[in-house]
């Protein structure tokens, strides 16, 4: 569409006027966008952090590989290399039986007198294996146990499976929740925009009959939608930003061992995405709402 300077000026003047003369509509729409995106954003942060905590727990998982007694040191080296080749293994470290006894003693704490009567160290040498992908822990353990020189493999069978099940469930639930919330936000925002256009359908039909093109009528509505979308999502993001940081601070003060996401880059992307979503829904919502009344 060819567009003169006059038309462009008209669009901006028109958008500003409409926003101010329909104060109430503007406020309701902005508020709805803010509330919807606040809920969405807060849930996203919740899901991201739950995932982060789950990952943290998973990363504490390890496989303990007990060796056949009296293995030659080159056999041990050989075995270490082979363990590295097992899919999913990230790090392997050797734990001598002396070190293991030490650990056991420390673990028993004040009851370590139990071990007083023992002369010969009955514990075996072992490898401590960290996984890169914790889901593969059971498979890796099975493979490692069949390697030569391995007597036994231990990784908290049972408990680990439980933990992994729970974290996997939480991830799936998180995706479903976020998906549903995005749909909900879209519905709420587009409802309020459609209703605010509906309240002005008469005006649209008058404009139409005076010879205004569809784009001429639509553009101020689109700009209005974009402005409301931006304002609404901006307010949401500012609120989210400050409450999340004060939340992170509170947590780091009172429950410091709970690992929260405080990665500026990630948060920046997240907040940017929310603003983008607000803009987009505002624009697309206005587009389709107006279209409905343009068929005159």
């Amino acid at each position: 569409m060819a567009m003169g300077v006059n038309t462009l000026a008209y669009f901006f003047k028109e958008t500003a006027r409409s926003l101010f003369r329909n104060t109430w509509l503007s406020l309701a729409a902005t508020g709805t966008i803010t509330v919807s995106l606040l809920i969405l954003g807060a849930s996203l942060l919740l899901v991201i952090n739950t995932n982060r905590i789950a990952l943290d727990l998973e990363q504490k998982l390890e496989i303990r590989v007990f060796l056949v007694p009296n293995l030659a040191s080159n056999q041990v080296k050989q075995l270490e290399k082979r363990i590295y080749l097992v899919p999913g293994v990230a790090r392997v470290s050797f734990v001598s039986k002396e070190k293991a006894m030490e650990d056991l003693r420390r673990g028993l704490g004040e009851r370590k007198d139990i071990l007083a009567g023992i002369k010969k160290n009955p514990l075996p040498d072992a490898f401590q294996v960290k996984m890169a992908r914790s889901e593969q822990i059971a498979n890796a353990a099975a493979q490692i146990s069949s390697l030569p020189g391995v007597e036994q493999v231990r990784y908290g069978q049972g408990t680990v499976e439980k933990l992994l099940l729970v974290t996997r469930w939480m991830r799936i639930a998180g995706i479903i929740i976020i998906g549903a919330l995005i749909l909900a936000a879209l519905f709420l925002i587009s409802s309020i925009i459609r209703l605010s256009v509906f309240a002005r359908r008469q005006e649209i039909s008058i404009m139409k009959v005076l010879g205004a093109t569809n784009w001429f009528i639509r553009t101020p509505f689109l700009l209005e939608g974009v402005t409301l979308g931006f304002l609404g999502s901006f307010v949401a993001v500012v609120i989210l930003y400050f409450s999340y940081w004060s939340f992170v601070q509170q947590v780091s003060m009172f429950v410091p061992f709970v690992p929260l996401v405080a990665d500026q880059r990630l948060l920046f992307n997240l907040f940017g995405g929310l603003v983008g979503l607000g803009l987009l829904v505002g624009m697309v919502g206005s587009f389709f709402s107006v279209r409905k009344y343009l068929k005159v």
Partner: protein
């Protein structure tokens, strides 16, 4: 310039508003459209504006079949026609000035043109001192005059006025008629649907009479009346 060929209009609820109307209007005509309430006068003007489509027959404007216009041609058609609507149809959130300016903005008029013509048009209908008021703050007659100013501001090819004096006192009505005659003399075709028998009788212009959707009379220098 305008041709109606065997035009019929049946509304969705089955009301037959126009029945087999055939009529020609030349450029520069001044035409009174008369007929009892519900005769189909407004419907006829709606067909010209393509607000409604004819059920049967053709409406030709400037050589083009109005019903067959492409959707991007419709705004161009409407900008050639100035309309004073029976129910005014002012934009409630715009002041009188903005309402009149809107007709120019729609057509892409420059700021200078708007600044010049809008006050002129408001002056012509005697609303210069009410330009900053909103339609809801105007009296009935003032709203009607705002609608007239909007219709004439972009100097249309065709001016349709639907009952333009319904809310005006006799003096203002006659001033308006002089204004319409002046505009007509400058080349604009004028169609005026009206019940003002005194005006019709005094002017001795062309009169087309509808009754119950049928064209019952078309006289070159006619008087008010629709038979029956």
């Amino acid at each position: 310039m305008i041709h109606f060929y065997h035009v019929s209009k049946v509304y969705q609820n089955g009301v037959k508003a126009l029945k087999d109307v055939t009529m020609h209007i030349s450029k520069g005509d001044f035409l009174f459209l008369v007929g009892p309430s519900g005769a189909g006068k407004t419907t006829l003007t709606k067909l010209l504006l393509r607000e409604e489509l004819p059920t049967k027959g053709q409406v030709i404007f400037c050589g083009k079949n109005v019903a067959r216009l492409k959707s991007q041609e419709i705004p161009l058609l409407r900008r050639k026609i100035g309309v004073v609507f029976q129910d005014f149809r002012l934009l409630p959130k715009k002041t009188v000035y903005e309402n009149v300016a809107f007709a120019l903005e729609v057509a892409g008029g420059s700021r200078q043109i708007i600044k010049k013509r809008v006050p002129e048009a408001l002056e012509m209908v005697g609303l210069a001192d009410k330009q900053k008021m909103f339609p809801s703050q105007l009296s009935g007659g003032e709203q009607q005059r705002a609608g007239i100013a909007r219709a004439i501001v972009n100097r249309p090819l065709l001016l349709i006025t639907d009952e333009p004096t319904g809310n005006l006192d006799p003096k203002t009505s006659w001033e308006l008629i002089y204004l319409l005659q002046e505009i007509n003399r400058l080349g604009t075709t004028v169609i005026m649907a009206t019940h003002a028998w005194d005006i019709v009788n005094a002017l001795k212009k062309r009169v087309v009479a509808l009754s119950g959707g049928q064209m019952v009379r078309d006289e070159k220098r006619g008087a008010y009346g629709y038979g029956g």
